[in-house]
Symmetry: D2
Subunit: 420 residues, 4 copies
Amino acid sequence: MVEKPAAIAPFNNFARLYDETRARSLRLCRPLQTEDFLIQAADFVSPTKWHLAHTSWFFEHFLLKNTLPHYRPYSPKFDYLFNSYYQTVGKFVPRTERGLLSRPLLSEVYAYRDHVDAAMAALFDRDLFTPENHALLELGVAHEEQHQELILMDILYNFSRNPLFPAYQKNPVPAAQASSLMWVDFPGGLIRVGQSEAGFAFDNERPAYQAVLPPFRMASRLTTNREYKDFIEAGGYVRSEFWLSDGWDWIQREQISKPLYWYDEEGQHFEMSLAGMKKRDPEAPVSHVSFYEADAYARWKGCRLATEGEWECAAGTSEVRGNFLESGKLTPTSPVMDDLVQQLWGDLWEWTQSPYTAHPGYQPLPGALGEYNGKFMANQLTLKGGSCVTPSRHLRKSYRNFFPPSARWAFSGIRLAGNR
Amino acid sequence: MVEKPAAIAPFNNFARLYDETRARSLRLCRPLQTEDFLIQAADFVSPTKWHLAHTSWFFEHFLLKNTLPHYRPYSPKFDYLFNSYYQTVGKFVPRTERGLLSRPLLSEVYAYRDHVDAAMAALFDRDLFTPENHALLELGVAHEEQHQELILMDILYNFSRNPLFPAYQKNPVPAAQASSLMWVDFPGGLIRVGQSEAGFAFDNERPAYQAVLPPFRMASRLTTNREYKDFIEAGGYVRSEFWLSDGWDWIQREQISKPLYWYDEEGQHFEMSLAGMKKRDPEAPVSHVSFYEADAYARWKGCRLATEGEWECAAGTSEVRGNFLESGKLTPTSPVMDDLVQQLWGDLWEWTQSPYTAHPGYQPLPGALGEYNGKFMANQLTLKGGSCVTPSRHLRKSYRNFFPPSARWAFSGIRLAGNR
Amino acid sequence: MVEKPAAIAPFNNFARLYDETRARSLRLCRPLQTEDFLIQAADFVSPTKWHLAHTSWFFEHFLLKNTLPHYRPYSPKFDYLFNSYYQTVGKFVPRTERGLLSRPLLSEVYAYRDHVDAAMAALFDRDLFTPENHALLELGVAHEEQHQELILMDILYNFSRNPLFPAYQKNPVPAAQASSLMWVDFPGGLIRVGQSEAGFAFDNERPAYQAVLPPFRMASRLTTNREYKDFIEAGGYVRSEFWLSDGWDWIQREQISKPLYWYDEEGQHFEMSLAGMKKRDPEAPVSHVSFYEADAYARWKGCRLATEGEWECAAGTSEVRGNFLESGKLTPTSPVMDDLVQQLWGDLWEWTQSPYTAHPGYQPLPGALGEYNGKFMANQLTLKGGSCVTPSRHLRKSYRNFFPPSARWAFSGIRLAGNR
Amino acid sequence: MVEKPAAIAPFNNFARLYDETRARSLRLCRPLQTEDFLIQAADFVSPTKWHLAHTSWFFEHFLLKNTLPHYRPYSPKFDYLFNSYYQTVGKFVPRTERGLLSRPLLSEVYAYRDHVDAAMAALFDRDLFTPENHALLELGVAHEEQHQELILMDILYNFSRNPLFPAYQKNPVPAAQASSLMWVDFPGGLIRVGQSEAGFAFDNERPAYQAVLPPFRMASRLTTNREYKDFIEAGGYVRSEFWLSDGWDWIQREQISKPLYWYDEEGQHFEMSLAGMKKRDPEAPVSHVSFYEADAYARWKGCRLATEGEWECAAGTSEVRGNFLESGKLTPTSPVMDDLVQQLWGDLWEWTQSPYTAHPGYQPLPGALGEYNGKFMANQLTLKGGSCVTPSRHLRKSYRNFFPPSARWAFSGIRLAGNR
């Protein structure tokens, strides 16, 4: 990955924002071979080729068809092939069968992207944007950013299932140096959670609402591999008292005894990563753990995970800076800033204990786009802060990522919290 | 069922409370034949015989063994056979295999109950109660009350799977008369949720915490069968736009198109009940619906379900009165009181939209009893208010029932809520 | 079990044959408690109560309804409840749900038997038997004999899944004394397989056909527990080279490493039996093994299983004598006769390597009874010779039992064979 | 596909046989795009890339490693990646995960083939062949021929799961013209089944053995699409009386109501084929049916399927001529020869009613190659005669193909037989 930390376009230059976002998707694909684009090693991942096509379909379906006069869709079958889950738009290829699509070929998917980009350029040229269109454009860009993260998550998972453990990129990352874990106290009180300002935000971040927080404290940094190994050696995965009932059933059923990408062989400790199989860095943050594991670890430490409100309170007015996609590292590292609470931004998504539910007064987007966020508000937990594979522009304090409690293929880690 | 609406013992007369609770379990079993005690028609139900034994084991294991000098457990094997899920207590018969236990015979389970009751009588006689013991006793009684409700829920489910559709009791219940559905407005504001008073409450009701509620409104009564049938006829189960994504997957996978106990044949509408298969009363509250169905119905109506905080706010200081187990009806009926918000108590448990999670500052009970509530705080929703098969003494405003979003064998119904 | 070795009625006295067969079913139930009659611990077993009702339904449906003027079926619902698999007769309770039928009560099933027996008595009294009826009567008796064996097989399985390991009967059986295993040579040649004589036989035994056998040899007795333990200790279950591919997949998937009812604890060797959990007798024949296990054992010994033709050739004109149900032992023992090839009859069913297929020229019975045998002629293997829970009258040389290759709850054992 | 009907090398020119066989594998791949090589749309198919690598591994592992001095295997990991099921050789990638191997790239698999071919050329040049090696070479060639058929079977299946229904080759095939179905009588008697001559044959074809056949008759040609449609319209898939019990369960469970590749839309009848989705030819033989369907069809017609012995008897001394891979048609057609029994060779594999079991006296090959055939002798049926995607050189009268009774992705059809 050769992502340069180039300045992202100013927010009011939509054409440039669009172009740069689209170009980044292609740049992310450069290390891949034609065959890599097709793999789907589990139901929850998608082939890279599918991501490339689906993000184009999103602009075509929600923007071009209704906005650009005489727009001709690239192919009538692509609605069926590359719709992800918008039930109200029509039928679609089951998620589990995306990996069967050797056709359309990768070259055709690239042609599809070009077709859409050309039409979008016409849209920009003719200045056909209304405020509604601008909102859709921003949504389409944010959507493509999400899929950029998914491309990397999915490639890592796919490569981890290949016995050759291929590398996506081989880049040297210095050994991490974890600071001492400190506790930072917060007084709590009446706070505002969610997005109250104008500007783009997903529907699930609005409206802002008031919450009352008791005093709490948060760990100064993410939990490290070394600390998590202590948990395992203390019987973390065999002592039921640390686990939620569903989590305990899950580790029994799936025979789980360590984070998703940990491999141990003859006393050597490895970790699968976008740089291939590498020695595990004990000082680096533990990643690719589920909510169940994060929660169990926290209980073992006599702590708990933070709530979403506490996380936003701790983030306060801090700037969105950290180890994001632009760093090109693609792996979590040590905290580098001298904030009191470090690594809130970037490195790893932080599991909160807050179920992903509607903010009070929540209104989904109208029409098919109402399926974007709202219909997933069951059986998932909220994660905050972004990761080393998230485009930094994508993040906000009110931003809510969400996964089921057993999901592990996201770049997710553990931040301890507690009562005071 | 010949449950008399007799006055329940004053709270400070523990021996009498114990005796009456234990006697009610037996009274609930009177309509059953020996073979009925053994059925387990699904993993989520338990045989009646198991309930009778397990509630006795609870007193034996958590109270008698540690309290009554020289207490001799009835059988060393019963720890294994009748422990439900206390991992830290030891191994136990898998939940799915409780229905295989033709031995110990029912007569032996009754003997086990007698053995435990005799030992408990000795405990009361000798006045060996410390405050800790009193707390355990109250917990054991509340635990047995929960299993009394489960006995009826499970028998109904078991009988519904028998093509003969046996009746548990044949009692005439007058046709319901649903009032017009009205909306009651609440101003919201800063309120207290959970239990702040002394006296018995489960650990999951504590501590009380403050929450900020926006203004809201609640329907004046439960949703009726007639109203729910309108939803079905409007395509409720075939239009994805009303459903959470997981709910939609669930109704597709399980081929669900109506409440659990609805049967329709040649234009006739029936409902399986504890009185056997009977004509469905259109004015009675719709029951045995899942959270997914309740939520989809509410969306179809342009409404939503209440949060737990809103429910407690609406309940205010109202008295716990309504159609509970003591009425002997064992089926939900029309509201009979002239409260503004009717049927908050009894008739049917009301699904809220609130995930069942810890109150801020929650502390589980110490030891094995810490597994009672806390470890289930994932993937479940909170229900409030009790039902027609709940002992009324068991309820409180802060009381939290919880089930996974697809569960339907509880006596659960729908209360609409909305924003103002 | 108090089965007396009483002389069975002469074949031409049908009324007495009927009465004695029906009485034996009841006698087999005497050691059971009401609750035992209801257990179904796996899809492949049926509750005893169901067996009692189904065998009565068989006489009612196939004989009484068409033969006895004005016969009134006991209940119109019993066709649905107690039909086993006759698709052409109508719908029926799925096999997997037989264990849910707490109603009709056992007492009602007994009443059903009495009702059928009284009608049958009327049939005998009025001498309404045509040759066709006689054939149906013989079929019904043979059918009930099969279910008598199933009752014992199923009870053993059900009790084995109860952690208390109840005994069906406690009878002392002397330790076995296995003779040296010898090999008996047969010249092969052109032989007749199947039933060519008049008299009752199942349709699958006919017509007889000619087969050419190469010379072969057979072991003089069944394989013992001690010999099978040698196989295990030599890595029998971890060395794939002995196993059919499907068998290897099966032992991996089901985690199988010993016969169904073997239990080993702290160096002690036990076996679940109809006498409860007992010390395993190393000299007794190994039982409750699948075809896959029998085949793998034979390969490990450098041998093979016999074909059905070879088995019938070895049985020659020998008398049907051995350890059958009438002995009351209900467990396999040492050979006691001085035949060259011992234990061909009784003790344990012997797996052959012959798939259960149609004899050349096979004609199923007409109508619904054509479903009795023919439709199972796929994916099953033939077993010969009967077992210690088979009524001896039931057996013939041409008799063909059949089970899928992974089935283990029958009383099945291993007879080695080989080429010369 | 541009397969020329070129003369195949004389059997004693091994180098040329090897070269031509290897070249044909590559020729079969010409119509494919890089991405097509990777698809695995079901557990029972394999990616083309895997077939190409596995057939090379076979020569490398079983021949080169032991024969060519100083042979250097291409990669130590390929034993793990491209072993199919030889348990005694070592661990291997689970069959279900072959489609995850985007690496090694296709280009590397081609390099692997070149590496093996070069080493084989060295072997031929140095004339290092012993008789044992010659046998292994012939086995390797026959093995690659089998995988050539699998490549086409699997590509068809993979493409059938793509909503675009891609074509492997677009070649015009004239409409079929089915002759009248006639019956050909055979007297039966004592015949020889299996291979008794010297020369290459698989172990499962030996030894030849004698069987006694009653008189029988066989249909003069394969069953057509038109005839099979009659079966469907007569309720073939909804009347249980035609079906084996396992087959009936299978069509219920899998919701099967027509052959694998039939598609019907708005009164139009289509069939997926290697030429893509095309109009179904009513006169062409019905293909891609399971044994269960073939058997049910035969019962509906009052007939049955032939036994393996009957098929070999009917084939007699006929020459192996017909519509094989070399014709380039890749689809079954009308019979073109004037034999009495037509289409015995080529067009479609014919299901027999004979379970795939060992011939009397069968001896598997020694060592790992003993896993080639023998370990599959359970739960499969024998098919005879080859198909339009089988290399004609591959066939013999004694040749035995085998599939589980529900398999449908082979080019399998129906030949009726009956008693006289």
